[in-house]
Amino acid sequence: MALRLPSLRRVVRWVPALCFTLAVLALAGCAPDGYPQTTLAPKADFAELLDQVFRRSFQLATIVFFLVEGVLIWALFRYRGKPGDAEPAQTHGNAMLEVVWTVIPAVILVFIAIPTIQTIFKTAEVPTDNPLVIEVTGHQWWWEFRYPEYNLVTAGDMHVPTGRTVDLRMTTGDVVHSFWTPQLAGKRDVFPGRDNRLWFRTETAGVYPGQCAEFCGTQHARMAFQVVAQDSAAFVAWREGLAAVSAPVAAPAPADSAAATAVDPLVAQGQQLFAAKACVGCHAVTAVGAPTMVGPNLAGVGSRTTIASGWLPNTDENLTRWLKNPQAVKVGVLMPNLGLTDEETTALVAYLRSLSVVPAPGAVAMTAAGN
């Protein structure tokens, strides 16, 4: 009945190869394809640094896992008790073994600790190569992005140029949140009255989804955003477009104004409603030098990829649903039900759609990233 086992030497010979194969397979099981928010396919230097440490520790952990579980399972078969077995040898321990299995894990840990400490210090310092400062503010439940260099502010989509370090200075307007775009950088919590820092530089244009990672109340799950990374020409076009859409639109009343005639009457109606229905109380529609308000800044909202904080595609249908009853779409948001009629909603949607950065950079980048 004794279990026939291959000799120890033969086992030992193929253990490393087996461990390596299994480690590769295990990582392949977590393949990042089809996960737009994956941590396993870094697209910026910060995330790349984190990933290297993760891979090192993951490989070591996988090897330890298969060795220890292997020994355990082997022992469970090998020392299976049979009826009539004599009492096994009553060993109480082995000082030498205790030392060995204390020292070996310690040595393995050194191999994790060294890159860990190196990376901690590497990621702690923001590079000084003329970074683009973006001030990030978390709000229940949306993200605000401010570009002091251009005196611009936006929400929902954070546009960044490729090839230039982005220096994020982060805080919150209310409770603690955590800023997380897994493909670009790790998490950084934001605290009231405190500036937290994070940085990254990506060379790859694309749309990178991100999401709040610290529980922050009712709609924590719907506090997403996108980082839109664009080459410098597209980025310049975006920020100039955002500044342009923020230029005050002439009042539609004087008939002799050339600007006024160009305005779609529906848009004009929407613009009037925007003021009359108190939308302006919470939302600014100029990106240039606008203060932080209760609701997200809406300059350029017409061409953003999503509404309701990175959740719903920015379509007219979704905008209509939202305006008709925000609480029904996203319970708990601060925006009240304004009791808009269908007509008013149509006009407001037309107006918001008119607040587009032309050409819509998000859409272009989306297609690019889709490939």
Binding site: Q37, A61, D174, A185, P192, P209, A221, V331
Partner: protein, 610 residues
């Protein structure tokens, strides 16, 4: 030569068993209190499990509206709080209660009435916490309740207050119990049972009591500060008044990390009892096991900030807390290797308790390894607050604690009830639980690494999270089903299970030397001990077999009298704290204090005996 009363003088008619509800309300018998703890905690555990199933059902597919965001947030908060404070901790307390005195050869705990008081306070605390559901105000800010979401401004309802008061009440129960077990272990050991002869479960229990005594005051203070913020307008955690939300995180995790070891060390102890018995050889590396347990507990107080790497503490703090955390992997590894060393060379008896104990070792390895990964801040910046962490701590707390406690339940059920649990049902339970557990929690590693944050009531289609979430939900149903089998096994075995002998497993420790279930006084004659495995030594000295111990008359054995003052005092204690729930309701507080004082005085002057 051990003297353990085996086959004592002919059985005399035992005095009539105490019966009825009143006997349970007034009991001060550690075994009955242990059963009360066990039944209550198991019911709370099932409630927490039901909450988990609702959570899993909501997450089974993207954009589901099965639960509202508010309901989901209440459920995940209550799931965590319930499993930790009302499930795993009191299930451990069941084993402390029932088995510490038996394992050390004592007739009861040091303070039997305090023991009853602990149980009743725990029960009232659990009821207060869960009564929040009746007011639609269950806690909804996560079990670690990060400031400043918990401030009056952002959480105006009673949800947070229920949590504060519930935990304060439960904390009193834990502290009272910790004092009791600490004194019991230090003072009531049988003659000859030196510290280094104590069963490993007793050692791990002792360390757990020390952790409780040192960690719970911290959360008590933190909760008081939070209550002052919410009800009295102070600003400890409110930034607008100069407070600091990060201070809460430090205080919470200074408690919260030792709490992790409070949840796992008893499990280590249970497994360290079971593996030797079913391998038929002593625990490998006893001293190393003791010292690694002490070392883990000691280090456990110095690593709290590894829960806070994403707060941006700076590179020096990150480095120190990272290295400290990695150090814990060493004694933890020593434990795992010693467990493997215990079964190595043994003659393994594959009984149900052994299945669960081995399942514990296999699963805990995974939880330990993922723990090492996020001991490294760079890796943790991606993993923290993602489903990878959810996977990690379920491998530790379910794969670890729950597997081990279930092993303990199968192992000690015969001693507690006099009946064996069904082996065949037990094995079905094990394999379903093992399969369901891994299907539920293993895919969470993948989801977390691929960007799914925790504590989200839903996720969007197109994020790639659909498939594994569906698998997890299916797994959770299997896991839930496995517990139905466990319940069926318990009920069936209680009624018609095989009658247990005193020592059905050929155990090594003193509890197997007395009848199953034990008589009220445990040991008719105080045992003496001169080794680590007293029963094995005795059996060897007697040529391999021991006679079945007879049930004897307890004439002349002094036992503490039943008392209803513990439950009265416990009620007063809970009432006092409930008075703080709705801001401050002075008359409730005064009434609570009056009842508590009455209880304490009557308790103190209660006649010692009849």
């Amino acid at each position: 030569m051990s003297t353990i009363a085996m086959g004592h003088a002919g059985a005399e008619a035992a005095p009539a068993e105490k019966k009825g509800l009143w006997s349970w309300i007034t009991t001060v018998d550690h075994k009955r209190i242990g059963i009360l703890y066990g039944v209550t905690a198991f019911l709370f555990f099932l409630l927490g499990g039901l909450e988990a199933l609702l959570i899993r059902w909501q997450l089974g597919a993207p954009d589901k509206t099965f639960l509202s965001p508010e309901a989901y947030n209440q459920l995940f908060t209550m799931h965590g709080t319930t499993m930790i404070f009302l499930g795993v901790m009191p299930l451990s307390a069941m084993f402390f209660n029932y088995f510490i005195p038996l394992l050390i050869g004592a007739r009861d705990v040091a303070f039997p009435r305090l023991n009853a008081y602990s149980y009743w306070v725990f029960l009232f605390g659990g009821l207060v916490l869960n009564s929040s559901f009746l007011f639609n105000a269950a806690p909804d800010m996560g079990w670690f309740a990060y400031a400043n979401l918990t401030s009056k401004q952002f959480s105006p309802g009673l949800n947070v207050d229920f949590w504060i008061i519930g935990l304060q009440i439960l904390g009193i129960a834990s502290l009272a119990a910790a004092v009791n077990f600490f004194v019991t272990i230090i003072n009531l050991r049988a003659p000859g049972m030196k510290m280094m002869r104590m069963p490993m479960f007793v050692w791990m229990s002792l360390i757990t009591q020390v952790l409780l005594l040192l960690a719970f005051p911290i959360i008590t203070v933190a909760l008081v500060l939070l209550m002052l913020d919410r009800s009295f307008g102070t600003h400890f955690f409110v930034p607008s008044g100069g407070g600091d939300p990060v201070l809460w995180q430090h205080l919470f995790w200074l408690f919260g990390h030792p709490e992790v070891y409070i949840l796992i060390l008893p499990a280590f102890g249970v497994v360290s009892e079971i593996l030797p018995v079913f391998s038929r050889k002593p625990l490998f590396g006893y001293a190393a096991m003791v010292f690694s347990g002490c070392f883990i507990a000691f280090l456990g107080f110095g690593v709290w900030s590894h829960h806070m790497f994403s707060t941006g503490m700076g590179p020096m703090a990150d480095t120190v807390f990272s290295l400290g955390t990695m150090l814990i992997a060493i004694p933890t590894g020593v434990k795992i290797f010693n467990w493997i060393g215990t079964v190595w060379g043994g003659s393994i008896q594959y009984k149900t308790p052994m299945y669960f104990a081995l399942g514990f070792v296999a699963m805990f390895i995974i939880g330990g390894l993922s723990g090492v990964m996020h001991a490294s801040p760079p890796a943790d910046l991606q993993q923290t607050d993602s489903y990878f962490i959810v996977a990690h701590f379920h491998y530790v707390l379910f794969g670890g604690s729950i597997f081990a406690l279930t092993a303990g339940a199968y192992y000690w059920f015969p001693k507690m009830t006099g009946r064996m649990l069904s082996e065949s049902l037990g094995k079905v339970h094990f394999w379903l639980m093992f399969l369901g557990f891994n299907l539920t929690f293993a895919p969470m590693h993948i989801l977390g690494l691929n960007g799914m944050p925790r504590r989200v009531y839903t996720y969007s289609a197109g994020m790639g999270f659909e498939f594994w979430n569906a698998v997890e939900t299916a797994g959770s149903l299997i896991l839930g089903f496995s517990f139905l089998i466990f319940i069926w096994n318990i009920l069936k075995s209680l009624k018609s299970g095989e009658v247990a002998t005193a020592d059905p497993w050929h155990g090594a420790t003193l509890e197997w030397s007395i009848p199953s279930p034990p008589q009220e006084w445990n040991f008719a004659v105080e045992p003496t001990v001169d080794g680590r495995d007293p029963l094995w030594e005795l059996r060897r000295a007697r040529g391999g077999t021991l006679p079945e111990p007879a049930r004897v008359s307890g004439k002349g054995i002094h036992l503490p009298s039943p008392s209803y003052w513990p439950i009265v005092t416990a009620f007063g204690t809970a009432l006092t704290l409930v008075g703080f729930l709705m801001h401050v309701t002075l008359w409730v507080i005064l009434l609570g204090v009056a009842i508590t004082m009455l209880g304490i005085f009557s308790w103190a002057f209660e006649p010692a005996d009849h």
